[in-house]
């Protein structure tokens, strides 16, 4: 990908940035909003802001910057939607009802979703990036502007939180009550 842009970004480079990142950014926005239309709208907003920003500013790592813009676009979106909400509760607003179309997926999926809801927004971002977007820790660290070790430790803590804060899931897993999806 185009790894570095300066303020003279041209359209061809931006094309490339778009083509190389639209899927990841869209999916990230979707996993954070759980709504396809919203994710598409926000993706458009993110790239528009990126274009404007790249025209004016030097950006060392545009891909990481796209994630930063995305996180703020999500925050702005939820503030518009429910301005009174606590930021860590935003995921509760997402429409998870229609996500799990197959009935046999619903129970298990809901429990995982429910467990993820109990995490902080940053922990949830981490698990989404690692396990849903399948990003390597090194890349996640870059996107979150943290060092890789801190990201791995945070991921480890997030997994432990799921185990301890949602023990019901663990019961079901061990009892074989959640079948493979």
């Amino acid at each position: 990908m185009a790894s570095n842009f300066n303020s003279t970004i041209n359209a061809a480079a931006f094309d490339r940035l778009y083509e190389e990142n639209i899927e990841a950014i869209y999916n990230f926005l979707f996993y954070k909003t759980l709504n396809r239309e919203t994710a598409a709208d926000l993706a458009q907003e993110v790239f528009l802001k990126a274009w404007r920003g790249l025209k004016k500013n030097n950006v060392e790592n545009p891909k990481a910057w796209l994630y930063t813009i995305s996180r703020h676009a999500i925050a702005d979106y939820y503030k518009r939607l429910k301005p009174q909400a606590n930021i860590d509760d935003f995921w509760d607003l997402a429409d998870s009802v229609n996500l799990l179309e197959k009935l046999d997926q619903k129970m298990a999926g809901e429990k995982i979703i429910h467990a993820l809801k109990k995490l902080s927004s940053s922990d949830r971002d981490l698990l989404i990036m690692r396990f849903w977007l399948d990003l390597p820790f090194a890349e996640i660290a870059t996107h979150l502007e943290k060092n890789e070790g801190a990201v791995k430790m945070a991921c480890s803590r997030a997994l432990k939180k799921i185990q301890t804060e949602a023990p019901f899931i663990c019961f079901l897993l061990l009892a074989g009550q959640i079948s493979n999806l």
Partner: protein, 542 residues
């Protein structure tokens, strides 16, 4: 999911946190489940093009010329020019349809406007045969505010009654205290370790399950005056009329009359000026919403922020938040200028529920204050206030942007056009109170409890006060079609809400028989574990 991939995930984590190894058994099952729960984002090549296309619409005003040039239809410039003409036509027609009392209306009022009486039970069954969906099932618990206090205006006449709770509702999920003192699990229950020996040493700490029950301590209910009327919103099919109006146009090189049975579905009209607004017309829903045209609300300083320190400079501060009266004056002016007849709405109320969280937080310095003041104008139908399933006012939502000191959004405007049909209403006060004490309509929480008695269960009783009567908005779905309905209900306030209670602060009990039966059946299902099976920890042990 293949073992190799799981091993890769685990090895990465073990390298940094070897203590995770003792949780390997559960991680080997949890990680695949976590991955399998990944929702389908629906991403596909068409979506790439769709987003690109929309992006191009925004970018074309800049000096950007490459990316979407290749995908923009060659007739785009003509269409853009023609769209101005079309927009004028749409605007004129839709203003007439949506705001029949608007000064800008073209001719006479829509003769259909108002509430029209129809035969009894005209909307079919109101229960799950119609797949009932309430208006706020995604709400965050505890968003109810002081604004939800009972209104004497619509409350039925009351007599003294006190009934003890006969059922209870569990908290959504068990929460955990990681202190050693709360180690409630036998040591060989959960396979959190890497082997039998480690399993026996592993400990899980579980906070008590909190079962909330409700007890009515309001005045006795007199149901002689309760409403039996259910309302249905009538949606005009303007889409065909508007498409018909346009069908003679030629938008080079397309002739619209080459299509058949055209129907307009959506159109958005945006003000091209600083702080411009976008009106989004939904002809299927016969409604219009107004949003900020965000391109025109850009904050160049904030938009170029690249770190948290920069972003935080633009966060709302406590002292920025205006008095309720200031925000309401601004939203009233906005609606008046728009020509909206606000007499069809109840008294405007500001949603100040964030203050509850602010009061509770210990880190006030870093509290994220809302950037928008939510002003709600409850819809009135035949003088009755409409509520969502949390018992909060439901109607027109107008957002006042604190930073820019102006209205940024308003939704959803609909014509005042309803049908009214009578349904059989409940006459037993005891039955209604029993339903209220069982949590009413808006309790969709998981109902988890430990039947083995091995986990501490804490019972808490919350007091319900005298209810008010209002309408509850909900939808039913039948044969791939929906109808938007408004049913009479009693709204019981939860009194003396504990600081750590995150459930709804109102309990809704519908008054029509269809919905009551539905509710009772659901409660029975819960109590029998039909929705979410109660789990016995001892059964897992075996």
């Amino acid at each position: 999911m293949n073992t190799k991939k799981i091993n890769q995930y685990l090895e990465e984590l073990y390298q940094f946190d070897p203590s995770l190894k003792k949780h390997e058994q559960i991680l080997r099952q949890l990680i695949p489940q976590l991955i399998a729960a990944k929702p389908d984002s629906g991403f596909n090549p068409e979506l790439i093009q769709k987003i690109k296309s929309h992006l191009e619409q925004s970018l074309k005003k800049t000096n950007y010329k490459s990316m979407t040039k290749k995908i923009v239809p060659f007739w785009q410039p003509v269409l853009t020019w023609s769209a101005g003409v079309i927009a004028m036509l749409f605007l004129a027609l839709t203003i007439y349809q949506i705001f029949p009392d608007n000064q800008a209306q073209i001719a006479n009022k829509n003769p259909e406007t108002g509430v029209k009486k129809v035969v009894a039970s005209a909307f079919g069954p109101l229960n799950s045969q119609g797949n009932v969906v309430t208006s706020d099932t995604r709400m965050i618990g505890g968003l109810g505010s002081a604004n939800n206090s009972p209104s004497a205006q619509n409350a039925p006449e009351l007599k003294e009654v006190s009934v003890t709770a006969s059922d209870s509702l569990a908290t959504p999920l068990m929460t955990v205290n990681t202190t050693e003192e709360n180690d409630l699990m036998p040591t060989n229950i959960i396979g959190m370790g890497g082997g039998e020996t480690e399993l026996r040493n592993e400990k899980i700490m579980i906070m008590p399950i909190i079962n909330y029950s409700f007890k009515y301590q309001g005045e006795p209910l007199d149901l002689s005056q309760v409403s039996k009327t259910v309302y249905r919103r009538i949606k005009n099919q303007n889409g065909f009329a508007i498409a018909n109006l346009l069908s003679g146009l030629e938008i080079d090189p397309i002739k619209l009359n080459s299509f058949s049975n055209l129907k307009a579905t959506y159109i958005s009209l945006a003000e091209d000026k600083p702080f411009g607004l976008t009106a989004s017309f939904d002809f299927n829903d016969d409604s219009v919403s107004i949003y900020s045209n965000w391109e025109k609300w850009a904050n160049p300083e904030r938009d170029k922020c690249q770190d948290e320190a920069c972003w935080s400079r633009f966060r709302t501060k406590y002292e920025d938040i205006p008095e309720d009266s200031v925000a309401i004056q601004a939203t009233n002016d906005f609606l008046t200028n728009l020509g909206v007849d606000i007499s069809r709405y109840g008294e405007a109320k500001v949603n100040n529920s964030w203050r509850r969280w602010y009061e509770q937080t210990t880190d006030k310095a870093n509290y994220y204050f809302p950037e928008i003041v939510n002003v709600v104008y409850p819809l009135l139908i035949d003088g009755q206030e409409v509520n969502n399933s949390a018992g909060e006012p439901d109607g027109l939502l107008v957002n006042y942007n604190i930073l820019e000191k102006r209205v940024s959004d308003a939704s959803t405007f609909t014509p005042y056009n309803y049908e009214a049909s009578e349904y059989e209403a409940e006459t037993s006060a005891d039955r209604l109170i029993n339903l209220a004490e069982a949590g009413g309509w808006n309790q969709f929480s998981y109902h988890l409890y430990d039947s083995s008695g091995e986990v501490e269960v804490e019972n808490r009783e919350l007091i319900l006060g005298t209810p008010r009567q209002g309408l509850i908005r909900f939808w039913t779905y039948q044969n791939n079609a929906s109808q938007e309905l408004f049913a009479p209900a009693l709204i019981f306030p939860v009194l003396d809400v504990p600081a750590d209670y995150y459930g709804s602060t109102n309990i809704i009990v519908p008054l029509t028989q269809d919905l009551i039966k539905e509710l009772e059946e659901r409660n029975t299902q819960y109590s029998q574990g039909g929705v979410i099976s109660p789990i016995s920890i001892s059964s897992v042990m075996r």
